[in-house]
Assembly symmetry: D2
Homo-oligomer: 413 residues x 4
């Protein structure tokens, strides 16, 4: 069997912002024997996971599950509701918003990319990669689109490259305020199951997600949560589509089946993940992510390093971007940390490459794991020659000790 | 944890033509902890599986691995080499050839569907669903295409709905004889790892496969094996493509990585599957599939029921289609067998629905498992009121006893 | 990882009378992370499995669980209730009764071994190894023991070496009829969870069992089910004992803990096994074992070979001993079957070595698995030169087809 | 399946001095299907693990493996070489030495218990529980035994209740200096695979160990490593023995088999554990344990709390005992730590109950896991009202950062 043993003793600390650590319960579920995807047991499984995933998206409408990465689910969202050459309005919040934009271009759409202008003098980084979606810019742009040529507004809920969680409800309000019929499409790949997300209440038309973040699964499942308006739009849309087409899938899903062979063993894992999340309760799930984020940010502040997300109201409960001083190669620090302390941190992507690293604090985690993560980062920063203002580990410990986890997450006394 | 226990005692016999039974070694590999898809361990894994899968396809050219079903790999093959409205020549060999044809239509291509004409009087079934690809029909059609409008010839290697394994080398010879530049695209979803397949030697341009058949994995991985001509064609092709686009994947695969998050845990399984197949040797793998097919067909002949594949030179080593007498509902028999004997057999699809069932004899199997399968089918047929000419179980046993498995598959004496 | 692949394709058929095939559910439970055996979670686990195992023994009194083989549980039973030199009355039913007798000798007790006398002319085998415990011989012997020197009567419930299930209630009646105070000690290592066993109702004082038979676990757990009389006797008994001593264990078990480190991961498996057995219901569990035994014996009768158990009222639901013709080396046939058909059958032990083999039909099994087992044995017997009177496979199939499994064991229609 | 989820998010930190955390590789090995313990595959497995375990004990003589806890292996050692009433000389180093002494008493031997006298005024704890075996006391006592009535000298290598690793070679020198024929019996239950142990070189006659410490397995296997003198002594010894008797086991082990059903799935785990230890190299294994102990003790010193082991030359590489201030209930602190931080620490046992806790730093671990452990203990001590002199976490981080792990334990740069 393949040996994953670059560090041959102890447990790896996988603290990237996804894939997140997969709990043992789910790993075991993945290894159940594959069954007939046309047999009666499968239908029961299918109906169960489709009902459960709807609860996590907080929608009463269909959720489509693909054997794909999250990137595939981006493509699915675009091709189901657009026709060749359609305009879509996107917002640059970081690397993943940028990749989605490039995909739209490549598919033959006419995407337009809004962004916060300017460079932050203190760090030399673009402001657009440190802030969230600006609903007022979207509203202004839509008001200009008198002909309603813009088919959809596409935003990222939790930008995995920066640690900014944007206000999605505000985007819906902006669209409505502009009186514009554009669909609202939201990438919540790293938000779902970590940060509060309310599909129906927020009026999202298509939400995109993946399995390897808050759902605590390996990668391999992509999701599209739909609205009735999105389903209606897909009837008229003329982009070529087959694998990604919602119609047949939604129809067959009624019986718990798929038109093509689904990803059976990942669906076992999804079933287990949904049990875990829903037994715990989404509010408790969100509360633990928020609390972890606060503890980690307390550490970063103690170090005296800038947090990537410059808007304190949008700090992500999923990850924290840490900006390293100019002249320090953040990736060299990360490599040293990996080699010495068996800890994986997220790299800086795109416009912030080499200038920051990302600490994932999502999914199946707890206080000591995050204290260890902060400790590994702190030792690595010092070994890498970064002068720190103070002890981040102490700050994180103080935070966690002073603010107990919700009762439901602790052992019986 | 989800309990898959419709039959709460003993082991299910999964004898559909895929997903095939996943060996314990692979199930355990699937449950290894998910790692950072950008870390150094991942690159080593990626390079290993990409090298190995090339050996199984028998190609020195790139093989693209998608997080997708086999259906996704069909789409990938089409969208990478075609432009909107392109003509493609396809051949009706059964349900999967028909579904691929429908996909081409849906994607806005102009597929043409060749078929063997006529109905078999004895069974009332179309001859096209009992025969293989007729290379001479393809050659004739290509000769008519003086303007070389046909972009590709698309055929199914092993038609999972009928149990016919077509002669792919003959199709290449036909294209060459016609002097036509069409690409040769081959669906070997259920053939790969069971039936002999030689990508480079046979001159295939794009081969499509999936994980859940001869590779003995759960579903979730799709494959495109390429040729240099296919790669060149993809540069000029104008079909919109992003997720499926070969270029970035092939480039990043050089280091063992993917442009988007790959299906990590299924790649662990692929690594293990490749170890198993290559340690055993492809010739031994093919030999055991052929031998199993012979044993199962001996049983069907003893029953006096027609084998779906009417051309003895094209009997599939992967599955055997069994035609039930007119007036017998094959699906009712299958259901009875599932309920009474915990055995899943494949249903009749499309034009042969209700008139046949399919016995899978692929992947991780052995003689006693197939004798049990034949026994379950035989008991079910009798309980379902089908008069049988003789004992299929006895015939299968006689075959297996008289023809020992290759030495490499037996225990040390 | 160790590769168990003497037969590198397909699933091994483990049809020895124990260890029985371990269901996947239990194998997964075994692989849960080991926890603190003094922590709060452990106490809950301990109490659960101790309550459940009592239900399987059908006792309201303590059951002691050892990290040991069944052999260890034999020793535990003897050393807890005897003093050096004590007389114990044992009954020769086969190899395991004989080994228990030898253990008693070795421990310094004075065992006496009753047996049915004589040799069966037809097979040349001793009658004692083809019959059950004769309660009337025990009663007669106890009546002679006016001084009540005999401390205990020790019998085997299901003799794993012969396939004879003795009448335990009759032994209790015999002891009572003799007015003798001897304790009744019963080895139900291979009986528990397969054959009906009623600890309290039958008045058994100490029952011995193990994990690797009807409980469907790997070996490693030994059991002593007690009676109040046995507990009282252990206070006075002077055999040196520490590891096996009941007193401390029974006391600590009240909180779900053990005085020394218990076999944590096997207790996870036990928890799962108890869930499986009790959800199914013991009556259903016994019914499926009886039915399997009937099907297998139908096959042996069709072959024209003698069933080892000569008393039809005592045929074991756990295993069937098959006597091979004089001049045939049964072990050579077994070896051929293992090598050719990946099927493990039980060897002949002790006085019947080389003259018989044993078919296990216990634990996690079903009809097709047993048909395959019969098929493998039949092919092997023929290849080994044994002339068979008829088709055992056909007889087994006819039996199973004509006698459906209990509703609770079948899939929903 | 049983849910071990008192803390339903994240990974438990099992930092008791055994059972130690079982690596995933081993958990997976445990879940391989159980095989026939009399079949050919089993013999190969048996021979492999018996050869490997000898390498870990550093002996060329037989090692006996029992399905038992370590307690069982204690009993095995005693009953194989003694006769009823025999004198054995034992040395009080803590709770486990005391339990072994009580077992000897209970088995009818005449144990004599040497100890360092006195009470440590500063902590109020007995000196005997803070020091190692005093070889000179043993030598003196043996010199008094002119008649050589003492059959064996029994000492604990690594006392799990105190964190003291005694000098075994010195004990052998003492016995030899006294010219006494007593056997040297050594409990290295928690030492083996963590601390240097040299069976043959040190002249040990019987070493006792268990699976759940340095071997990184679940509990369930007990070991006796023998010397030729011990084997000879067992021939003459008259203690009743059957299950524990070495003779038959050693004989059957030559072919890789056992006289009774061995603990098959734990032997799979043992095979994997031996691969891991021997691939890494015992010197590297010992080096990482020593380094971890140093880091943890740096933390305890920074706290200003006494380390239980008062002899710096005998600090255990396996665990560190931490003495809490008088008036603080160490178990209340442990409970708080478990409830708040999902961290299990070892309780104070016997004469030090409530006055200390134990930090395990053994088996499958790494720097960040131990920093997290120290952090959890530190937060708990503070929350429990213990005034600490300084930051233990900082001290541990400083130690680990300044002293890199051996090259072989780090990822490729």
């Amino acid at each position: 069997m393949i040996a994953l043993d670059q560090h041959p003793s102890g447990r790896h600390f996988l603290q990237i912002p996804g894939p997140s650590p997969v709990p043992d319960r789910i790993l075991r579920a993945l290894s159940l024997p594959t069954i007939d995807h046309r047999g009666p047991e499968f239908g029961a499984l299918g109906k169960k996971v489709l009902a459960g995933i709807g609860q996590v998206f907080r929608t009463r409408h269909p959720v489509v599950v693909y054997p794909s990465s999250g990137t595939g689910a981006w493509e699915a969202a675009l091709v189901n509701v657009t026709s060749p050459g359609d305009a879509v309005l996107m917002f640059e919040t970081g690397q993943f918003a940028s990749l989605w934009y490039k995909m739209a271009l490549r598919l033959g759409l006419a995407p337009e990319f809004l962004a916060v202008p300017g460079i932050d003098g203190a760090t030399g980084l673009p402001w657009s990669w440190r802030r969230g979606v600006q609903a007022e810019l979207i509203e202004a742009r839509l008001r200009q689109d008198a002909g309603h040529a813009i088919r959809a507004v596409c935003v990222v809920h939790n930008e995995t490259s920066t640690g900014v969680t944007s206000d999605i409800a505000a985007v819906r309000r902006a669209i409505d305020a502009a009186g514009h019929p554009a669909l609202l499409m939201v990438d919540t790949i790293s938000g779902l199951g970590c940060a509060d997300y309310r599909h129906d209440e927020w009026g999202v038309d298509v939400a995109i997600s993946g399995s390897q973040k808050g759902l605590m699964l390996p990668p391999g499942l992509g999701f599209n949560a739909l609205s009735p308006r999105a389903l209606a739009a897909s009837q008229a849309a003329r982009m070529p589509k087959a694998y990604w087409a919602w119609d047949e899938i939604v129809e067959m899903n009624k019986g718990g089946y798929w038109p093509y062979t689904p990803n059976t063993n990942l669906l076992y894992g999804l079933s287990e993940a949904l049990d875990m999340l829903l037994e715990q309760g989404l509010e408790t799930v969100f509360a633990r992510h928020r609390r972890w984020g606060e503890g980690v940010r307390a550490a970063v502040r103690a170090w005296g390093l800038p947090i990537q997300c410059a808007d304190a109201s949008l700090h992500s409960p999923v990850l924290t971007g840490v900006i390293t001083p100019q002249g320090v190669d953040a990736d060299a620090v990360r490599k040293l940390i990996h080699e010495r302390f068996d800890l994986s941190l997220g790299t800086g992507l795109g416009k912030v490459k080499g200038r920051m690293f990302r600490i994932g604090h999502l999914g199946d985690s707890n206080d000591l794991t995050l204290v260890a993560t902060v400790a590994g980062a702190e030792m690595g920063l010092k070994l890498g020659g970064v002068a720190l203002a103070g002890s981040g580990v102490q700050a994180a410990m103080d935070h966690f000790a002073a603010h107990p986890a919700p009762r439901a997450l602790r052992a019986a006394a």
